[in-house]
């Protein structure tokens, strides 16, 4: 698909569903499931997006110059979603990675509750721009997380992190991984790279890949 502009997509669902190449630009609020099963190419949205953006996405890039609704990047396995503003509930839920497939979600603002629930792989970076005085995520962040990593640009960790999560202040090694994501974010949305990178980041990782191992007894 060639680069195209379309002004009559207001509320239309499944835009770019399963696309493999090309660029779609969206200038009016798209409907749910934008870029579901996306397999390559790029979708650039110049307003807010709704629920289920990038559902089960496999490759490609979704860039949202605005905020996004619930369940963005559900079960995403590859590619990247960059959100300038905030996300709703359950962002990055059940995100997973496999070999060279390593999904990325970068959020400029804050995320709703259940960020990275059941996360099994991939990277979520929340920059929390404008929310420097509080945790940039809602309740139950990383509930059931058993793989991947969540980076939060904050000095205020959420108070209710589950027991299987280790939160560690990002050191030089982590910052070298965060830097290219921040750079891509700033190039797209025009933020100050230096200022963002010189902040405090926390890395959340699960301390087990088998969170339910002790739960059962054979009968």
């Amino acid at each position: 698909m060639n680069k195209r502009k379309n002004a009559s997509l207001l509320g239309k669902r499944y835009l770019g569903c399963g696309n493999e190449k090309g660029t779609i630009e969206v200038h009016e609020t798209p409907g749910n499931a934008l870029g579901a099963y996306l397999d390559g190419g790029r979708i650039r949205v110049f307003c807010n997006a709704q629920d289920a953006t990038g559902d089960t996405m496999n490759a490609g890039e979704i860039l949202i110059h605005g905020s996004v609704g619930d369940a963005a990047g559900y079960a995403m396995r590859g590619g990247a979603i960059y959100v300038q503003g905030d996300t709703g509930y359950r962002c990055g839920i059940h995100m997973k990675e496999y070999q060279d497939k390593k999904p990325v979600i970068v959020v400029g603002g804050c995320c709703g509750s259940f960020l990275g629930e059941y996360q099994a792989g991939g990277v979520i970076l929340v920059l929390g721009i404008g929310a420097e005085d509080r945790p940039p995520v809602g309740n139950f962040c990383a509930a059931g997380m058993h793989g991947g990593i969540i980076y939060l640009r904050t000095e205020h960790l959420p108070a209710d992190l589950p027991g299987q999560i280790t939160a560690k202040r990002a050191g030089r090694e982590e910052l070298t991984k965060i830097a290219p994501l921040v750079r891509r974010f700033c190039r797209e949305f025009g933020e100050e790279e230096e200022a963002l990178l010189s902040s405090c980041y926390y890395a959340l990782t699960p301390n087990t890949r088998n969170p339910y191992r002790q739960l059962y007894v054979n009968n």
Binding site: A75, H94, E117, P211
Partner: protein, 501 residues
């Protein structure tokens, strides 16, 4: 020998006159029950490890072995049977949730066995299926309500995508991971030869099995393992798994120990990582949300594939099915509470859900009452044990049935209900190479073909007896059923008269 408050439930009986100490039993037992005692120069057994899978019995060359239930007992107590007491011991010792496999073994009513099929006498003569054509082919999918013609009067093709099956029997969802590569290969080959479909379950589709796409139903469940565009496009239909009869309302959990090699590749998750399917789809909270997933799956496959929505049979199944029939789904699969599983919490398996017979009858009736029966086809599953069960399901309103436990038995399963241990001696519910190689997929496929061919022939015999020559004409024909020993309410829900009426 392990010290335990649990006395072994089985005894290994070895006939010393027949045993030649060839040690086949020792090599074949994945649970390490048998051992050769060098000092005594004879075979011994630790029956505490025995799961009664019959592998040793079946392969003993001198038929020296049999497994019997122990007569060791507790003081008799109707309120506290042996199983209940032992479950308490297990939980007191471990603090764990009881985990079981295969279908609900409890003595709930089996309505199939309370239903009888009609036959013609004198009038409306019966048909001999050996001489006359009998149509067992079925088409699953939404049927158009109106036909449209062009100006020349020619029919405009407006038929939504259909799943064409040569017999109304499909193999139901079992993931690669819960069962072995060779078991999947057997199912795929048999489905192709029979002109029906097998179902990937939520484990992705192994690269080797893409050529069987026309006979494959690809499943999408809450974990979305191995789901991508190529996978969705590979099958003949897509199934959205909302629920499973053996464990309604809860998700799936394949332990990291089973995520090895090809299973990891096919699910597209790293080796050793747990594969967790959450209980709900976290993007589905309503019929409208379900519709969104169904339509997104259609969108990505260019509206060429029928979409199945699979649910467990639960209390208000009729209302749920009515919603699904309006969700854009083409087929609803209903899984009854006796359906099998590779692992489920015992309490859920044995106490949650309702029988498929009642659920199926209620759904078919509800969809008819609402005038939307043509919106969807119905597949019934959850312990279909014979061609008679298939026939009764069709007469209660099913378009086709799913079988899985029966299919596994054709592959060698002896229903020892130990799938969750991952040590299946028959090479079915395991990923251990030394065990999986025991199942030859060529032989497995042939045995599946034999089973379904035999059932199909029996279906034709029963159809012929009723004087009806196509499955399509039998669907929902409840006049061909009578109940025995059922109460008024049961008869009312099943929509059948009592025998003698």
């Amino acid at each position: 020998m392990a010290l335990s408050e649990l006395y072994p439930p089985y005894e290994v009986v070895r006939n010393p006159d027949r045993c030649i100490a060839c040690r086949v039993c020792e090599r074949q037992c994945a649970n390490e029950v048998h051992r050769y005692d060098e000092d005594l120069k004879k075979m011994t057994a630790d029956e505490s490890k025995c799961v009664n899978c019959h592998r040793c019995v079946a392969l003993c060359p001198t038929r020296a072995l049999k497994i019997v239930k122990t007569d060791h007992c507790f003081r008799e107590n109707e309120n506290w049977p042996k199983e209940t007491i032992e479950e308490i011991y297990r939980q007191a010792g471990s603090g764990g949730v009881l985990l079981s496999s295969m279908g609900n073994p409890k003595p709930y009513p089996i309505y199939w066995d309370r239903l009888l099929i009609n036959a013609s006498q004198v009038t409306n003569p019966s048909i001999d299926p050996l001489r006359e054509p009998m149509e067992t082919r079925v088409f699953l999918g939404k049927k158009p309500e109106e036909i449209h013609r062009d100006e020349a009067g020619k029919l405009l093709p407006n038929l939504p995508p259909q799943l064409e099956l040569s017999t109304p029997i499909l193999f139901s969802a079992m993931s690669y991971g819960s069962i072995s590569y060779n078991a999947h290969k057997s199912l795929a080959q048999a489905a192709r030869e029979l002109g029906t479909c097998y179902n990937t379950g939520e484990g992705g589709l192994h690269q080797d099995f893409y050529p069987y796409g026309e006979n494959t139903i690809v499943q999408v469940a809450s974990g979305r393992f191995g789901v991508h565009k190529e996978y969705l496009s590979a099958g003949a239909a897509i199934e959205v798994k909302m629920g499973q009869g053996a464990k309604p309302g809860i998700g799936g959990h394949l332990p990291g120990a089973k995520i090895v090699g090809d299973v990891s590749r096919t699910r597209m998750i790293p080796e050793g990582s747990d594969a967790i399917s959450p209980a709900p789809h976290h993007d589905i909270y309503s019929i409208e949300d379900l519709r969104q997933l169904v339509l997104s799956l259609k969108e990505v496959t260019h509206f060429e594939k029928p979409v199945i929505v699979k649910i467990a049979a639960v209390h208000n199944v009729a209302a749920i099915a009515s919603g699904i029939a309006r969700s854009g789904a083409d087929i609803i699969a209903i899984d009854g509470f006796r359906g099998g599983t590779g692992a489920a919490p015992t309490r859920i398996r044995d106490n949650v859900g309702i029988p498929i017979e009642l659920a199926l009858a209620a759904v078919d009736q509800r969809l008819r009452d609402e005038g939307i029966r043509g919106n969807v086809s119905l597949i019934a599953g959850g312990s279909i044990r014979s061609s008679a069960d298939v026939m009764k399901a069709i007469l209660l309103g099913a378009d086709a049935v799913y079988i899985a436990t029966a299919a596994l038995m054709a592959l060698g399963c002896h229903l020892c209900r130990s799938c969750h241990s991952g040590k299946c001696s028959w090479g079915i519910a395991t990923q251990r190479p030394e065990l999986t190689q025991r199942l030859d997929p060529e032989i497995g496929a042939q045995r599946l073909v034999n089973l379904v061919t035999a059932w199909t022939h029996e279906l034709k015999e029963m159809m012929g007896g009723m004087g009806i020559n196509s499955i399509e004409a039998l669907r929902g024909n409840r006049l061909m059923l009578r109940g025995v020993g059922l109460n008024e309410k049961e008869l009312q829900i099943l929509g059948v008269a009592h025998a003698g009426e």
